[in-house]
């Protein structure tokens, strides 16, 4: 193997692969990244046997070949590389010689023959989502994923392939985030999609996979992400990177029926103002859950965010938000509410309440028209007294 490639491409490929290696030591080769030079391409692969990633970059290949190199070493090398010079790679025995400008490195590797084969996709892609859009969706739903592995299915994100809409949802059983994408706005392979949505309309994707994808999607250029689903596995294709992941076995809990169809009371106001009021209240919030109280007085047209702790003191903030509907008083966990507010991307938000013991929702507000947007919903359960 002998080749030359640009440093930018090289770093990008390493960045995409470096985190996918296994942390277990049963198979040492899983700590490595596979380098493969073939026909003007250098492809890098890494896997932990749950997720696999393959990044291809253009290169001037003089001699084909392959080797695996420890991910930790090559990623440290790549991070510390001074910018500029092109990189030349050459295989010598079981080591990889790397040259960039005045720097020379020799890294010891393992034979490529034992490296796992990354599953290749067989079916055509099912749908295409804009990378930037996917990144925002993921950042929202990843907040509510359960960290505790006691319930496997909740550690993933539920993707529902509906007739007209696509839903991404996650919950840790205390709060829930759901994002709706209308199919008409996406490019969809209609035939395949129909077959899938009727046969297996609900999937659970491991959150680690999606966190990694969200990391790899760069925010600055909007490249579409192609999604392909096969039995037990899912593929994501970005420009030159393809990621394959297992799906979580199991049934995601039905959550649609918990989401209220209508809300009696609605308050609308600046996200920043609400955020700082809740943050302030959380300082004095009592109990392990950080309880704060939101009191909506419909007659006086006032919203009061308050908290009180026997140890530390108390606090209250009055907000001049638009109120529609009757007065309400709810007790909430400040942590869950705050994390929900953080996922709102518009400058204004709506808080929707039915009663002190039913779920309440956060939604975004259209910047121009001031309407409540229904695509994204974040639901929190109030604390029972």
């Amino acid at each position: 193997m002998k080749l030359i490639c640009t440093q930018e491409n090289f770093k990008k490929a390493i960045y995409s692969c470096e985190r996918m290696v296994s942390k277990q030591n049963t198979l040492p080769i899983l700590n490595n990244i596979l380098f493969e030079a073939q026909k003007n391409k250098l492809s890098l692969s890494a896997t932990n046997l749950e997720i696999g990633v393959q990044a291809k970059i253009g290169a001037k290949v003089e001699k084909e070949g392959k080797i695996t190199i420890p991910a930790r070493i090559i990623s440290n090398f790549s991070n510390n590389l001074p910018a500029g010079e092109n990189i030349s790679l050459e295989l010598s025995g079981q080591s990889l010689k790397i040259k960039s400008g005045a720097m020379k490195v020799v890294i010891k590797g393992l034979l490529a023959d034992d490296f796992p084969l990354i599953p290749k996709k067989k079916a055509d892609s099912l749908l295409e989502i804009s990378g930037v859009k996917l990144k925002t969706v993921l950042s929202r739903v990843l907040t509510s994923v359960a960290r505790n592995e006691a319930r496997q299915e909740l550690t993933g994100i539920n993707l529902i392939l509906g007739q007209k809409e696509l839903f991404f949802a996650s919950t840790d059983s205390f709060r829930l985030a759901e994002e709706r994408l209308v199919l008409d706005k996406l490019s969809v392979n209609k035939e395949n999609y129909e077959i899938f949505s009727t046969k297996n309309g609900s999937l659970i994707i491991p959150s680690a996979t999606l966190a990694e994808i969200s990391r790899i999607i760069s925010g600055d250029t909007d490249t579409p992400v192609k999604i392909t689903i096969e039995e037990g596995q899912i593929f994501f294709e970005l420009e030159n990177i393809i990621i394959v992941s297992r799906l979580i076995n199991g049934k995601y809990p039905e959550y649609r029926h918990i989401m209220p169809k209508e809300y009696k009371t609605r308050i609308v106001g600046e996200k920043g103002v609400f955020q700082s009021a809740v943050k302030m209240a959380s300082i004095f919030a009592s109990g392990k859950t950080g309880e704060i109280t939101i009191k909506i007085d419909a007659e006086a047209k006032k919203v009061l965010v308050s908290s009180m702790s026997q140890d530390t003191g108390e606090n209250s903030t009055e907000l001049n938000f638009d109120i529609t509907g009757p007065s309400q008083e709810v007790v909430l966990s400040s942590k869950y509410l705050l994390e929900g507010i953080n996922t709102v991307s518009t400058s204004k938000l709506a808080l929707l309440i039915n009663s002190e013991s039913t779920p309440l929702a956060l939604r975004e507000i259209n910047e121009q028209t001031g309407e409540v947007l229904e695509d994204y919903t974040y639901i929190v359960m109030p604390i029972k007294n």
């Binding site: 696999g52 006691a150 037990g232 076995n249 109030p382 604390i383 029972k384």
Partner: protein, 457 residues
């Protein structure tokens, strides 16, 4: 031959031709899904295993299967999404979200396997004798009883038989109940836990079983090492464990060895056991033994002089239970024969128990046999004149045991082990004695060698 038998037989053959790591990585969770017209479909857990088995191991698999069933012509793999776990045993689907509860106090919720907490009220911190051997363990237990679930969760206490583990961990429970009788405390020996689990599995009440354990404020499991090898129980225990520790409920475990020495224990359990506080109780020193005897004598209302107590404590060193047994024996015989308790009289009563090693008729041959058997070398090699790395340590262990268990003289040890010099024996004894204090693994080894030694006679 069923598909399962066929696959098991094939696997055992494949296992021989590839490395263990590879075997575990690629063949875990596989099974034969169908066997029709000479074509076998193997179900694999993920796409990686499918690619690997189809492209790299196809020949191995085919060869192994054809050795058993010649008519098989081809093998292919498919990702089986069928849940390997029985879906009916999963927790019933609950609502996706629920309210975080403000407080967890519920009035005497019903306990399924019986409401008794199994605690023996006689075990308390007050009547526990503290010595250098158990200071740390006692302090940890006491701290836990004062701040339930806040510090040291889980608390793991280990030590040999009859050294007071049970006393300590039950004391926590009694202390808690004394302060707040409504607390839910449960003490259970692990074999009983396993038995309850099996019973629940038999009657299909695993959910109730888990549920009832998940409501406990303080769960004490004694002799947790017996859970080793019981995979389903371990799995269920893992979930209960997680649930309790997440809701800041206290878990206290005891075992006869540290977590890393328990065999066939799932890694995730092991690491959780090691995640809290680990404290050991070791053999009590002479002063502690005397103190224990004094306390016991006082409780029983015995009048016995310090010299006699010292004599008993000096002769029974390994086990507190034996120590108390000896005192009981002395007390009863004295009562019956109406004689005064003097060291000579006590020696005559306890003659059978004292220095049990000699009494049991163990000779140096037993030691050589047990040691060589334990380290898997031949007894001749222990005696032979060489200094091979793998023989040196066992030989030193044998010398140590001959000295400590049989009180052989150093020259005697030397001559029994191939005419070695007595200084060699002295060196070996010193070396092992020193190593025992710092090397836990060696300590474990010696303990099990001694167990074997005394069980073969």
């Amino acid at each position: 031959m069923t598909n399962e038998e066929l696959w098991q037989t094939a696997l055992s053959e494949i296992e021989l031709s590839i490395s263990k790591a590879n075997f575990i990585t690629w063949f875990k969770g596989t099974s034969i899904l169908s066997n029709k017209d000479g074509h076998i479909v193997v179900g694999v857990p993920n796409g990686f295993a499918k690619e690997w088995l189809e492209n790299k191991y196809n020949l191995y698999i085919l060869r192994a299967i054809r050795n058993i069933q010649e008519e098989v012509k081809s093998v292919s793999c498919t990702i089986s999404t069928a849940n390997t776990e029985d879906s009916t045993q999963k927790e019933p689907l609950v609502d996706a979200i629920s309210a975080p509860k403000k407080v967890f106090v519920k009035e005497s919720a019903k306990f399924f396997p019986g409401q008794e907490n199994n605690l023996n009220p006689k075990y308390t911190f007050e009547n526990f004798v503290v010595g250098g051997n158990n200071e740390l363990a006692r302090a940890a237990c006491f701290a836990v009883s004062q701040n339930l679930g806040q510090i040291y969760n889980p608390l793991f206490i280990y030590g040999g038989v009859g050294l007071g583990k049970t006393h300590l961990i039950q004391s926590i429970g009694n202390e808690i109940l004394q302060r707040d009788p409504s607390s839910k405390v449960k003490y259970i020996p692990s074999e009983k836990f396993v038995a309850e689990f099996i019973e629940a599995a038999k009657t299909g009440k695993i959910n109730e079983f888990s549920q009832c354990y998940k409501q406990i404020d303080l769960l004490i499991i004694d002799d947790i090492q017996f859970i080793s090898g019981k995979e389903r129980t371990q799995e269920n225990f893992f979930h209960i464990f997680n649930h309790l520790s997440q809701s800041n409920k206290q878990i206290v475990l005891s075992s006869d060895k540290p977590p890393k020495a328990i065999q066939i224990l799932e890694e995730r359990l092991r690491s959780r056991f090691e995640g809290g506080m680990i404290a050991d109780v070791s053999k009590p020193d002479f002063e502690t033994r005397v103190a224990i005897l004094k306390k016991k004598a006082m409780r029983e209302g015995l009048s016995i002089d310090d010299e006699s107590l010292g004599f008993i404590a000096g002769n029974i060193k390994n086990n507190i239970r034996e120590l108390e047994g000896a005192l009981n024996r002395v007390a009863v015989s004295a009562q019956l024969s109406k004689k005064d308790l003097t060291p000579t009289y006590i020696a005559s009563i306890l003659g059978e128990i004292i220095s049990s090693g000699k009494k049991k008729g163990i000779t140096y041959k037993h030691i050589l046999k047990t040691v060589s058997g334990f380290y898997d070398i031949s007894p001749d090699e222990l005696i032979a004149k060489n200094r091979k790395q793998e023989v040196v340590r066992p030989r030193q262990v044998a010398m140590y045991l001959m000295r400590s268990e049989l009180q052989y003289s150093y020259p005697g040890i030397g001559s029994k082990l191939g005419g070695r010099d007595h200084t060699t024996a002295i060196h070996a004894f010193d070396k092992i004695s020193k190593a025992l204090k710092v090397d836990d693994k060696l300590f474990e080894e010696l303990t099990s060698i001694k167990d074997q030694l005394y069980s073969i006679v």
